[in-house]
């Protein structure tokens, strides 16, 4: 997961794009992971467990769970990963530039 996410963030750094995490690890663990694995995107810290308030509000029961929003905040894709994620983001970026 991390290499793909890292390269996506790097590739799109000058585009109207953001990768936002919602993390379910204990805080110490998250800090460690960010440092050691080069996590280059911001995450909400969801209270330290998979039962945190954000995951609960979004009915998340499997990890990872992905939502892709367009520039108006509308949900357009769910659970796309790897190349499918790249394609979805590309398509939505075209809409911003229109």
């Amino acid at each position: 997961m991390y290499p793909h996410e890292r390269s996506l963030v790097k590739r799109l750094k000058d585009k109207p794009f953001a990768l936002i995490g919602v993390n379910s690890d204990p805080k110490d663990r998250l800090k460690k992971v960010i440092k050691e694995k080069g996590i280059s995107w911001r995450s909400f810290w969801d209270g330290g467990s998979t039962g945190g308030p954000i995951a609960t509000a979004w009915n998340v029961s499997g990890w990872p769970t992905i939502y892709v929003l367009d520039h108006k905040g509308v949900i357009r894709y769910k659970n796309v990963r790897g190349e499918a994620m790249d394609k979805a983001v590309e398509k939505l970026l075209e809409e911003v530039e229109q």
Partner: protein, 259 residues
């Protein structure tokens, strides 16, 4: 389902059929039932032991190749077939029911699961234990899943079974077709769960009502085409921020954990 697992199940099924023919004819009365119960408990203990040993071996593997080889040695499907054979000696009895239930917990698809399910429906359709079968079915019990659940909803005399089957059918349909028609019927069924069966317990502090409400949130607020609800929270440094801060950008929200 992986090919090697299918082969294992088929082999297990074939062997258990052969064994079945050699057993003495099923008997009268509580003596043979007590005997069956004893043998079942021993068999379940044997399985626990074999499974724990297999898990230990799995933890000790050093690479993907070793792991792959060990996956083929999972003892569970062999035991599922043995438990099924036991059950078939007296499927209508109490230990028979216990054995059939166990088979459906050990294996979800394949000949052993299908047979155990059919026997449960034949001999124990009105029993309260069908609720657990229903819950297990929400991830799919093969092609008969939907009809089984609809039958239970209609015919079970127990509210707990009706509730669990309604919830399971909703979950099954929603998972099958998360962004299409599946979620239309799922929404109606989850609504029925919240209205009629909310307090039925799912274990681990969850109730049917709680889980159904979560699913309804996802269907109603988090479907494709819906404006995402805002998120307000803190990052790892304690700095507050919101999802809506990023309006105007394409956003990927990634629920993740490092494990």
């Amino acid at each position: 389902m992986k090919r090697w697992a299918c082969t294992l199940l088929l082999l297990g099924g074939a062997v258990s059929l052969a064994w079945g023919e050699e057993k003495p004819a099923p008997d009268k009365g509580s003596d043979s039932e007590a005997q069956l119960a004893k043998e079942l408990d021993q068999l379940l203990r044997d399985h626990e032991k074999a499974y724990a040993e297999w898990l230990d071996k799995l933890r000790a593997t050093k690479n993907a190749q070793e792991r792959q080889k060990l996956f083929g040695e999972n003892p569970t499907s062999k035991f599922a077939s043995k438990v099924l054979s036991l059950a078939k000696r007296a499927p209508a009895s109490a230990p028979g029911k216990k054995a059939l239930l166990r088979v459906t917990q050990l294996t979800r698809t394949g000949p052993a699961a299908d047979e155990a399910l059919a026997l449960m429906v034949k001999h124990h359709a009105k029993s309260e234990e069908m609720g657990d079968i229903a819950l297990g079915a929400r991830y799919g019990f093969g092609p008969k899943t939907e009809s089984l659940l609809r039958t239970l909803i209609e015919e079970s005399p127990h509210d707990s079974v009706k509730g669990k089957a309604t919830f399971a059918l909703a979950t099954y349909l929603f998972r099958k077709d998360r962004n299409g028609k599946g979620s239309e019927e799922a929404e109606k069924l989850f609504d029925a769960v919240v209205k009629k069966y909310a307090d039925i317990e799912l274990g681990r502090g969850r109730t049917l009502g709680k889980s159904a409400k979560g699913a309804l949130t996802e269907i109603r607020l988090l479907g494709i085409g819906k404006v995402a609800p805002d998120i307000e929270g803190e990052d790892v440094d304690g700095t507050k921020f919101k999802l809506s801060d990023y309006r105007g950008k394409v956003v990927v929200i990634d629920f993740w954990g490092d494990w």
